[in-house]
């Protein structure tokens, strides 16, 4: 089984420096890409069916295709790497950033060339100190070697690249809020349209791609779209970093074919539940995805299969709920996070989430009413898609609505017993 994204990564050890990265075949894809036309690269990535790894799964080449190209296109154009990994339960981009920074840079330079970007930023979350250090070093090496800066490798193409370290707020991961954050403002979302590809950073054409997405690009250019599709067990091309956290025997992160079923990841790689704990449910891709249960164990972890099962692939890092953890308490923890991180821009989000948190707290403290369940259901509907500027509120509604569905008995016990049965 091929693992292109993690082949150079040995956790706990230093990442490859430029010399070692080149020796392992690094920057060959960039040389090849610079001999291709931007259109050809876009076509190859489209054929490869690379879908965005930040959670939404939007086809990467399609995202790029809305950027104005040609002589009359506005400049500067921007390419931004979204490295603001802050989705609770998610720890995949950290591995790529710390483990092989040049892989990300090469992916960014090629992607930048594909959309003819002039300036790139890596938008990094403040907590990833080691990643910041290693990215700074790698960027310096890439400039000195002529992979960045003016006339890359003697071609007409130039790209300036900077690291921007954020000061912490979940909202910054939302692409239009990220643009405001980069402009030195509060990270409120922007209305779409106009889409960032047309009017993004400082009103210029801008593409925002996730770390894992960009890391795939050099491998697609190197080995072709056919190879990339052959890595996958589903229609979505490539491999995927899958993670498991919670009370399993071996929590961790693995690069596996896209579309690997839940059971293989949970029972095979993560070793199943710890002794004394039984499985109750899981969030397949971070805090903002719907719960799934044991009936879904044979579902493939790819974008379409997860959606058909009533959830989302999200970031592909699953969080496990065990029988000794209260589902209502878990939801209270999740909704506290969303309520706190709401930027306050849209009323259903800032107001609704505080109410939800309050109701869940009442239930946990034995002061819940039976009508609270309907009230929570109504709130989940009000937070749904179309009522707010961005996806924070709909994301917060996902574990809530599915939690009410799968753990209804547990909610009712809180009301009837006037206490949390787990405390």
């Amino acid at each position: 089984m091929e693992t292109p994204l993690t082949r150079n990564i040995s956790p706990g050890k230093n990442p490859p420096d430029l010399a070692r990265y080149e020796k392992a075949g690094g920057y060959a894809a960039l040389r090849k890409a610079l001999r291709m036309s931007p259109d050809d690269i876009m076509e190859e990535v489209k054929e490869a069916n690379l879908r965005g790894r930040g959670g939404a799964g939007f086809p990467t080449a399609k995202k790029w295709s809305f950027v104005p190209m040609g002589e009359n296109a506005p400049h500067p154009k921007y390419l931004i790497c979204n490295a603001d990994e802050m989705e609770p339960g998610t720890f995949k981009d950290r591995l790529l950033l710390e483990g092989d920074p040049h892989q990300l840079l090469e992916g960014m330079i090629i992607s930048g060339y594909a959309i003819q970007a002039d300036i790139g930023y890596i938008f990094l979350r403040w907590a990833y100190k080691l990643a910041a250090e290693r990215l700074e070093r790698a960027i310096g090496e890439a400039y000195r070697q002529g992979y960045l800066g003016r006339n890359i490798l003697g071609t007409e193409y130039s790209l300036e690249l900077h690291l921007h370290v954020s000061a912490g707020r979940y909202m910054c991961g939302e692409e239009t809020a990220l643009l405001n954050a980069l402009e030195g403002k509060r990270a409120n979302p922007r209305a779409k349209p106009p889409y960032p590809q047309v009017s993004g950073l400082w009103g210029k054409p801008t593409v925002v791609n996730n770390v894992e997405t960009l890391c795939n690009v050099s491998h697609i250019v190197n080995h072709g779209s056919g190879w990339f599709k052959s890595l996958s067990r589903s229609g979505d091309g490539g491999t995927k970093l899958y993670g498991v956290s919670g009370r399993v025997k071996k929590p961790g992160l693995w690069e596996l074919p896209m579309g690997t079923p839940i059971r293989e990841i949970l029972e095979g790689h993560a070793g199943g539940m710890r002794d004394g704990y039984r499985f109750r449910g899981l969030l397949p891709g971070g805090a903002s995805t719907d719960f799934l249960i044991a009936d879904h164990f044979d579902t493939a972890m790819d974008f379409d299969s997860m959606q058909a099962a009533g959830s989302r692939l999200g970031t592909g890092t699953m969080i496990i709920l065990d029988d000794r953890t209260c589902p209502v308490g878990m939801l209270r923890n999740l909704e506290h996070f969303f309520a706190q991180e709401s930027c306050g821009w849209c009323t259903p989000c800032w107001s609704g989430l505080s109410w939800i948190e309050q109701i869940l707290q009442d239930l946990e403290e034995g002061e819940g009413l039976s009508s609270d369940l309907e009230r929570l259901q109504a709130h989940a509907r009000l937070l749904g898609p179309g009522h707010t500027f961005c996806a924070l509120a709909p994301g917060a509604a996902e574990p809530l609505q599915s939690g009410l569905k799968y753990f209804r008995d547990d909610f009712e016990r809180h009301v009837h017993e006037k206490r949390c049965p787990w405390r």
Binding site: G12, K13, N14, E85, M86, E87, P88, G89, T90, F91, D93, R94, Y121, R125, W126, A127, Y128, K129, L130, E133, H162, H164, V165, S166, A167, G168, R169, Y170, L182, E183, G184, K185, R186, A187, W202, G243, V244, S245, G246, R247, P251, G252, L253, L283, A287, T317, I319, I320, L321, D322, T325, G329, M330, N333, L334, H336, F337, Q340, E341, C343
Partner: protein
């Protein structure tokens, strides 16, 4: 007034952006690094340097979790309170920290050594529960390990009272100061 060093660092960073106000978040972090937190004076200094209205910069400063608008202790403990750490016993650790340090969330210990803050997911969920102190990430925590880490920080504070906390780990995430 910004110090010479603060000014130099802010100017260097401003060059990364076509609009210098983009550097305001980094500028706040620079001021915080030298002064420990961002006071009203700090807001005014940065606003003047970047030609922004102080009120506007204040809105930015209060938006971001890691800009401190109140004084903090020598070591800021950031305890993850998100879902994976919660499942893995994060609340027990919080109770332990409350008892051990005699402070609640958002408070600073009487001797000024530690400030305890809750923090959203730190992105190390396969090693939950976790916390950060300064630049170092501590994983797979239990109360005994927390005691050990805090003891070392307390000793470190005593011996190097004035020395700024320095990043130790050249590699790995679990190094101690």
């Amino acid at each position: 007034m910004l110090s010479e060093q603060e000014r130099k660092e802010i100017e260097a960073h401003s060059r990364h952006y076509p609009d210098h106000r983009s550097a305001c978040i980094e500028a706040l972090k620079i001021v915080q690094r030298y002064r420990g937190w961002v006071s009203d004076e700090g807001i005014k200094d940065v606003a003047d340097a970047l030609q922004m209205a102080p009120a506007e910069l204040e809105g930015v400063a209060t938006f971001y979790n890691m800009i401190f608008r109140k004084p903090v202790g020598r070591h800021v403990i950031l305890l993850c309170d998100s879902v994976s750490c919660w499942i893995m016993g994060g609340e027990r650790l919080r109770e332990h920290l409350h008892t051990r340090l005699g402070i609640g969330l958002g408070e600073t210990s009487a001797d000024g050594s530690f400030t305890l803050l809750p923090n959203v997911c730190l992105g190390a969920c396969d090693h939950a529960p976790v916390m950060m102190i300064g630049d170092a990430l501590y994983q797979d925590l239990d109360p005994a390990r927390i005691d050990e880490i805090l003891d070392r920080h307390a000793q470190h504070s005593l011996s190097q009272e004035e020395k700024k906390e320095k990043r130790e780990p050249a590699d790995g995430n679990t190094a101690d100061p």
